[in-house]
């Protein structure tokens, strides 16, 4: 099962390497990883999406907790949370095909951020599942480039 794990860490050099190294050394697979600042200057938040059975996820959390620079580990699968991601999709779209792409973009709330003679680049924020769906719908137009930020997650109050 896929888990979204938030790791609050000391904002120090080497912390990302420590966390990433733990995953590679123990053979856990990271689906996505997002790192950023938080409301506290000396604290960073890592949001890690990792797949595994309950035992593996339990180990991942315990091993993360063991790192000296890790302040708190929380599994967002356990509580209701808001999860967001941002995708940039560059699709091949000859003028004839553009209206279709525009329409799909409007339905999903994607913004057009660049247009060239042959391509349209769309920006879509939202829940990861919504982005997955959008990408599937874009595939027939031939995706030239695709990039996603990795998921961030916040527990609901």
């Amino acid at each position: 099962m896929r888990h979204v794990i938030s790791v609050k860490v000391e904002n120090k050099s080497g912390v990302l390497a420590r966390v990433a190294g733990l995953f590679s050394a123990r053979g856990y697979n990271i689906d996505s990883l997002a790192v950023s600042q938080t409301e506290q200057e000396d604290v960073s938040m890592m949001t890690i999406v990792v797949r595994g059975d309950d035992r593996i996820i339990e180990q991942v959390k315990k091993q993360l907790n063991k790192l000296i620079d890790v302040i708190k580990v929380s599994d967002h699968s356990d509580y209701p949370s808001v999860q967001r991601e941002l995708a940039l999709v560059k699709v091949n779209a000859q003028p004839a095909k553009r209206p279709e792409v525009y329409q799909l973009a409007r339905i999903f709330g994607a913004e057009i951020v660049d247009i060239s003679l042959k391509t349209i680049t769309l920006e879509l924020p939202g829940e990861p599942e919504k982005i997955d769906n959008f990408i599937e719908l874009m595939r027939p137009y031939s995706i030239k480039e695709l990039i996603r930020t990795g998921r961030i997650s916040m527990n609901k109050e």
Binding site: K62, D69, I71
Partner: protein, 557 residues
């Protein structure tokens, strides 16, 4: 005060008396301060020797071992020793030199990213970027190394930081919001554990290195006395409970006693204390304890339910938790079980076929036990020598058996013996070695000679890398691929060249005399070259990944 002075002052504040290491370009400022410092410095002849010696010192004394080495190759030479200490949870603080801060990342002379290299094999590490942080980092390092589940901490000190000046104030307290080891076990869990113990009919205690590192031997003995439950230990846990006691089942696992393995397999309750269900203990995990419920006491939450599902996990310091259990636990009714194990023990003793024509390595270990009245501190190398030292010596006190368990580092034993002898000048220290392992750090002989350490190096010389040869014999069609090392130095002459005493023993009748002579030499180390039976094997043996049903004993062959 300069960074280098701060390091020395901080070591004094931490009560450090002995430091192991090796100088080099990036640590000259530190060594400049060590010159007159009120610390005993031991100059190893290879950095690996320094870190193993500090490790042996830490294991024998229970204190933090300290190492100083230079940047680049000095630091990378420490890596095996750091990994060894990490796997066995030994508290070390290791200072490495680093090129100056403005040179870092430039592939400067003798530059290596040692914080990067040691990240997965140390409990924590630091690169000091500002001399103002140095005292705090040292304080934190000693705290992190010695608390919770202990382990090595590396402090990488760029040479300009050693030279830079700041005001020195050694912090009184450590403030780490992200590191708060749990010592007290959960009261509710302890209550549940007590009830499970009282209801058990076939309980076994499985005690590991955590009992020794938390100094819980006394509490463990009380626990066994109160409950009458039989006890087996891991390799790392030997000595926590006297093996001479009838309730001791000695070591379990791949080369453990048949009765310990059978008892654990047949148990209905396994009480794991400071042990981590290592693969050398469990064998095939799915068939390890088919009928047992499990209580697991460990300070490291990540060790609990890692390999084996646990019914009652108790995260906490072994000493605290056992003491709490002792307060309320009642003895279970296990008369039948004890009787069954007594028989099992009598019917399957650890044994070997002795010989008059050849010297059996097990015989040598038994004679060392007899002639030292079991009071020696035994360090081992890795391989057959290690297993025989574990099997044929009876350990009765903690910190008297010192061996590389987790990493299985050849070349560990002798430098560790140096550290152990420094920690325990009141005891005789033996390194039970193989002719392979001893050659991995033989250069440290000069350190023992220089400091007049009366260590006895008992080489069980069979001309083979014996444990690998044993596997080749049993599982690889006797193709002894590159394990024959009979092309070897003359260990007696080698010892003498270093200024140590050297004795060769080729007949069984000479064994006692040689050990006695070594014991009479008290101002330098002695190397005894025991020419033992070349193809003796370690039994019993549960082959890797197999179950106790597949145990190979001498009789089966």
């Amino acid at each position: 005060m300069t960074g280098a002075e701060i390091i020395v002052e901080s070591l004094k504040k931490e009560g450090v008396e002995h430091v192991f290491g090796y100088p080099g370009g990036a640590v000259i400022p530190i060594f400049h301060q060590l010159f007159n410092a009120p610390l005993r410095f031991y100059l190893a002849r290879h950095e690996q020797g320094a870190v193993h010696a500090a490790d042996g010192y830490a294991r024998a004394s229970g204190r933090v071992g300290v190492v100083i080495a230079t940047s680049g190759p000095g630091a990378t030479n420490l890596v095996t020793g750091i990994a060894t200490a990490y796997m066995d949870s030994v508290p070390l603080v290791i200072f490495t030199g680093q090129v100056s801060t403005e040179m870092i990342g430039n592939d400067a002379f003798q530059e290596a990213d040692i914080t990067g290299i040691t990240r997965p094999i140390s409990k924590h590490n630091y690169l000091v970027q500002n001399v103002g942080d140095l005292a705090r980092i040292i304080k934190e390092s000693f705290y992190i190394a010695s608390t919770g589940r202990p382990g090595p901490v590396v402090i990488d000190v760029p040479v300009d930081v050693s030279k830079a000046e700041t005001k020195f104030a050694y912090p009184e307290h450590v403030h780490l919001r992200s590191y708060k080891p749990v010592y007290k076990g959960h009261a509710l869990q302890i209550g549940k554990a007590c009830r499970l113990i009282e209801e058990a009919r076939r309980p076994v205690i499985y005690s590991g290195g955590g009992v020794i590192s938390s100094n819980a031997s006394q509490e463990l003995r009380e626990f066994v006395e109160k409950t009458g439950i039989p006890i087996t230990t891991t390799l790392m846990g030997m000595g926590a409970y006297p093996e001479t006691d009838p309730l001791s089942l000695k070591m379990l696992g791949m080369h453990g006693t048949c009765y310990a393995n059978q008892a654990v397999h047949d148990s209905d309750l396994l009480i794991a204390i400071g042990a981590r269900f290592d693969d050398r203990v469990t064998g095939k995990i799915s068939e390890f304890i088919p009928e047992a419920r499990v209580i697991h006491i460990d300070i490291d939450p990540s060790s609990v339910s890692k390999n084996v599902q646990v019914d009652i996990p108790i995260v906490g310091d072994c000493r605290h938790v056992i003491a709490e259990i002792n307060k309320s636990v009642k003895a279970p009714d296990i008369g039948e079980w004890i009787e069954r194990l007594r028989k099992l023990k009598a019917e399957n003793p650890l044994t070997y076929k002795d010989s008059e024509a050849k010297i059996k390595p097990q015989y040598v270990v038994e004679r060392i036990y007899a002639l030292t009245k079991g009071e020696a501190i035994i360090c081992t190398e890795v391989g057959q020598n290690q297993m025989w030292a574990a099997q044929f010596f009876e350990y009765t006190e903690p910190r008297t058996f010192i061996s590389s368990g987790g990493l299985g580092t050849m070349g560990f034993g002798f430098p560790a013996a140096i550290g152990a002898q420094i920690a325990r000048p009141d005891r005789r220290v033996f390194d039970i070695a193989g002719d392979g392992s001893i050659q991995m750090n033989i250069q440290e002989l000069i350190v023992a000679v220089q400091h007049r350490l009366p260590i006895v190096i008992a080489i069980l010389n069979n001309g083979f890398l014996g444990m690998v040869r044993q596997w080749q014999q049993l599982f690889y069609d006797k193709r002894y691929s590159h394990t024959c090392i009979s092309f070897a130095p003359d260990f007696v002459k080698l010892a003498e060249a270093y200024g140590a005493a050297g004795i060769r023993v080729e007949k069984k009748g000479e064994v006692d005399e040689a050990i006695a002579r070594a014991l009479s030499i008290t101002d330098r180390p002695t190397v005894i070259d025991f020419r033992v039976d070349r193809e003796e094997n370690v039994y019993p043996m549960v082959p890797a990944g197999k179950t106790i049903k597949d145990t190979i004993t001498m009789e089966l062959l």
